[in-house]
Amino acid sequence: MALSPADVLAGIKEIVEEVAGIPAASIELDKNFTDDLEVDSLSMVEVVVACEERFGVKIPDEKVTDLATVGDAVNFIVNAAA
C-alpha cells in the first residue's frame, strides 16, 4: 500500500510526541532525532517499533542507524511501503 510522505510525517510526529514528549510542531523533516529532538537510544527503539506497527513496514535493526533525521525515516518508510 502506497503511503504519502505527508501522512508518514504526520504519523511520526504523533509517535515521537507520544514516546519522547516532544511537541509535534517542532518535529520537521530536517530535524536529527538525537541532536535536535534528543530522542535517546531506548526511545528510538520505541519509535521504530511504533512506526512498524502503524505503517505496516519492517525497519531492520541495521537500517535504524541510517535514519538520522525525520526525513530519512519518512523516505525509508515510504519506499518500504511502496
Partner: protein, 412 residues
Amino acid sequence: MSQRRVVVTGLGATTPLGGDVDSTWKAILAGQSGVRLLTEDWRELLPVHFAARVATEPADQMERVEMRRLDRSEQFALVASREAWKDAGSPDDIDKERLGVVIASGIGGVITLLDQFVNLNEKGARGVSPHTVPMLMPNGPAANVGLELQAKAGVHTPVSACASGAEAVGYAYEMIKNNRADIVVSGGVEAAIHQLPMAGFAAMKALSTRNDDPARASRPYDRDRDGFVLGEGGGVLVLEEYEHAKARGAKIYCEIGGQGLSSDGYHIAAPDPDGSGVQRAIKFALANSGLSTKDIVHLNAHATSTPAGDVAEANALRKALGADADHVAVSATKSMTGHLLGGAGAIESVFIVKALQDRLAPPTINIENLDPAVTVDVVRDTPRQLPSGDIAALNDSFGFGGHNVVLVFKSL
C-alpha cells in the same frame, strides 16, 4: 578529624494517607486508615480483596512522558525525593562528588516485569519495551533519583525484604559517618500491588483476609489480627553531615544517633520466637549511639499485624529494654498505612522524625482487644505527648530472610 555527626534536613513521602509528608502526618495523627477495597477485577482471583494504594497517583505529580519510562516504584521514589530535596532547601550547589543516594525497594519493578511478560506473550519480542530492564531493576528507584540530582558519591540499593528501607537509611548514615559523602538522599519505596505478588503473600497466609472490613484489617497487637495489609508508596530522608548543614543554614530536624544490624539465622520467613536477633540489633544500635535504654521514649515498631510477628517483636523489645520499656511509647503505624515492604522502614523513619519534632507519638488504630501476650506500652487510638528535653526514639524493621535493622533518632 573530629567525629562526624549525621542529621536529617529534609523529608518526603507519598503514602496511602497522602501525597506528601504533611498530609500523611496529619492523617496519621488523626488515626485514619489508608486501606481500601481494590477496584480491579483481578481481586476476585485472590482471597484478599483490599490493599493500601497511594492517596495521590503519581500521574497527578509528574509529567506523562517521564512516567511512561519509569516503573511505579521509580515514580514514587522521584515524587518523594523531590519533596525531600525541596524541604532540605534544594542544596543544588553542593559538590556532586559529595552527594549520595541510597534508596531501597524490597521487590523492585515487579509490575513492569509482569506487564512486559504479557507483552512478550501477546506481541512477541518486538513488543517488549526497551525500557523494561531499567524499569524492573531493583536499583532503578535509586538510580533515577541519583541521575536527577547528579549524585556522584555513590548510588546504592540494599535489598533485605521488609527491612530494606531502614537498611537504606542506615547505609546512608554510614556513608556520611565514614566521610564518603556530606549529603545522602535515602529511603525506600515499594509498588507491588498486583495480583501475582499478592497471590504469593496470600499463599504464605501472610495477608489479612478481612474483606468485609478493609479499614480495620491492619490491626497490629489486636488479639484477632490475621495478617498484614499490602501497601505502596515510599519515604525519603535527606541526611546531612551536621557541620555541613549548619554552615549552609539548613533546617535541622534531628540527629541519627546510629544503627544496629543483625540476622536471625533461623528461618526464611518466620520470626525467631526467641527474638535474640532483634535484641542484639537493639543492643548494637544503642551502643553505636552512645545511648542507654533509659534515653528511649518512643519506638515505631515493625508490627505488621501478623499473628506470630507482633508478639515475637514485642517480647524481644521487652527483653532488650527491660524495665525501661515502661517509658517507651510504642506505635504501630502500619495499622494506618498498611505494610509498604521495602518502603516501610523509610516512611516509619519519617514518622519518627515528625514525632520528635511535634513531640507526639502516633497512634495505633484497630486494637479492639489488646493481645495479652503483648507486654509493651502501645499507644492506642490517639497520639501521645512525648517528654520535653533531650529524647531519643527507635525504628525497628525486619525482613524475610531474618534481617534486623534498628535505627536511632535523637532530638537536637
